[in-house]
């Protein structure tokens, strides 16, 4: 495959300045253009650090010692910032901290990235309306950002990341403050995103299994497993203490296997396994 259609991490290690231990240790992984990569693992295992490297925040904004290489669709977030930055949309962990701190309304906040690019007002208004509709924030456009609930704030953070129509979307636990319905809507939306390469850190194993093309499993700064959701959850070491998808647990209990011998990880696979059994 061409260099510009691949994501390649090769022996990537990161240590924050002044820190004793490395946050990432010899991480090697691959994915390809247009895929959704779900990054999972327990807390403090390096998921956020990985997001920061993929977004170029490390080492361009937060200084750190970095070895190995990281190539995303033919670009290096490490060496080609801010050029690379114009291709990405990033959602950080703390939604309130991502707001510009100088916007009167939700609409102004969404328009911020576009105003920075010098885009004309008509185009801005259209894109803001479009993104607000996608994130279910149309009714909140004239409110002040700080009047939003936690879940709405996260949807606003996502809206500000996608309003620039990025080719690479990096999201660090974007649903942590959403209610179940909001979360469901978000993953439904994400499943339908076109021509964007997505990296998403989440603990929503069920949702990730359904929508992700690849799963990367982090443990203690190392990438310990990667592959399709089905492959990863079927071969994941039980010692890792990472919960399995509900469908997998159910099928394991009932001993329902797919025709390839693996256990199902999504509801539709579960049905397939069930139908195969009967």
């Amino acid at each position: 495959m061409d260099e510009d259609k691949r994501i390649t991490l090769d022996n990537l290690s990161v240590r924050y300045r002044g820190a004793e231990d490395a946050q990432l240790k010899n991480v090697s992984a691959t994915a390809s253009i247009g895929q959704i990569v779900g990054i999972i693992g327990n807390s403090h295992t390096g998921k956020s650090t990985l997001c920061r490297v993929l977004a170029g925040v490390i080492p361009n904004i937060i200084s750190a010692e970095i070895t190995g290489s990281c190539e995303v669709l033919g670009h290096s977030p490490v060496h080609e910032w801010p050029n690379f930055n114009s291709l990405t949309g990033v959602v950080l962990q703390n939604p309130a901290g991502q707001l510009s701190g100088l916007a009167d309304t939700v609409a102004d906040e969404m328009a911020f990235d576009l105003i920075n690019q010098g885009i004309s007002e008509d185009v801005i208004n259209k894109r803001v309306a479009n993104v607000a509709a996608q994130m279910g924030l149309t009714d909140q456009l004239v409110q002040t950002p700080e009047s939003l609930s936690g879940g709405q704030m996260q949807r606003l953070a996502i809206a500000t990341a996608i309003v620039t129509q990025p080719t690479i979307l990096i999201m660090d636990d974007p649903t942590s403050e959403m209610d179940p319905l909001g979360r469901q809507q978000f993953f439904h939306w994400l499943a339908n995103v076109q021509s964007t390469t997505v990296f998403i850190v989440s603990s929503e194993i069920d949702d990730l299994s359904e929508i992700a093309d690849r799963i990367w499993v982090m443990d203690d700064g190392q990438l310990v497993e990667q592959g399709t959701p089905q492959a990863v959850f079927n071969y994941l070491d039980a010692d890792r203490q990472i919960p399995k998808p509900t469908a997998y647990q159910l099928a394991a209990g009932m001993n329902w296997h797919l025709s390839n011998g693996a256990l199902p990880v999504t509801p539709s696979e579960l049905k397939e396994a069930y139908d195969g059994k009967n």
Partner: protein, 200 residues
């Protein structure tokens, strides 16, 4: 690795980086809530320069001075107009804290006390002429002003009476704020201190 020899060469080097740009409004906000907290508890001190102290300690005297200046201008244009003119005092405080911190005068509890006195003197020296011009020498705090009245009644020069009035209030306030800032700064995570220090 050497850790505490940072500011020595670059204390006055100032670039409005993205880190400083978000630190300054945060410092002004901290000034505001600290003041509100002190008023709520009816403390005899203002605490309204805590954010300015922290900005100076984190990002140097210039960042502290800007925080102090903006603090009074915004406060003046939204709540209390006369406080705008005391922006000069806040600039002085920001610079004094920045220099003292860079020279290591915030490194131990004993040294902080000396710093607090120096900062109180700086603050009182700048504020006194303003108090005389705008309030005939008063500060607006009842017990400081009673002292002022007693001294003026006994034919002390207005300048001296006003300086005393301001200084007794300042010394109490700056000692409290300096120790608060010293204590809080020590609790800040290293990654934060490094981030605002901006040494890439």
């Amino acid at each position: 690795m050497k850790t505490e020899s940072i500011h020595r060469t670059s204390m006055w080097k100032f670039k409005l980086s993205a880190a400083t740009m978000t630190l300054i409004p945060a410092a002004v906000g901290i000034n505001y809530v600290a003041k509100a907290l002190a008023e709520g508890l009816k403390l005899p001190v203002w605490l309204g320069s805590l954010g300015t102290f922290l900005a100076s300690m984190l990002a140097g005297p210039v960042a502290g001075a800007i925080s102090g200046f903006i603090n009074n201008v915004i406060y003046g244009l939204t709540l209390s107009p006369i406080s705008t003119v005391y922006a000069i005092t806040s600039i002085g405080i920001g610079i004094a804290v920045g220099i003292l911190h860079a020279k290591g005068w915030f490194s131990s509890a004993k040294r902080v006390f000396v710093s607090a006195i120096i900062i109180a003197i700086v603050s009182a020296v700048i504020s006194t002429p303003l108090n005389v011009i705008f309030w005939g020498g008063q500060t607006g705090i009842a017990w400081g002003d009673s002292l002022f009245a007693v001294m003026v009644a006994n034919h002390a020069p207005v300048w001296l009476a006003s300086f005393t009035d301001e200084f007794v209030l300042d010394i109490l306030d700056k000692v409290c704020v300096a120790y608060l800032a010293f204590f809080i700064y020590r609790q800040l995570p290293q990654r934060m201190i490094r981030f605002f220090r901006d040494d890439k």
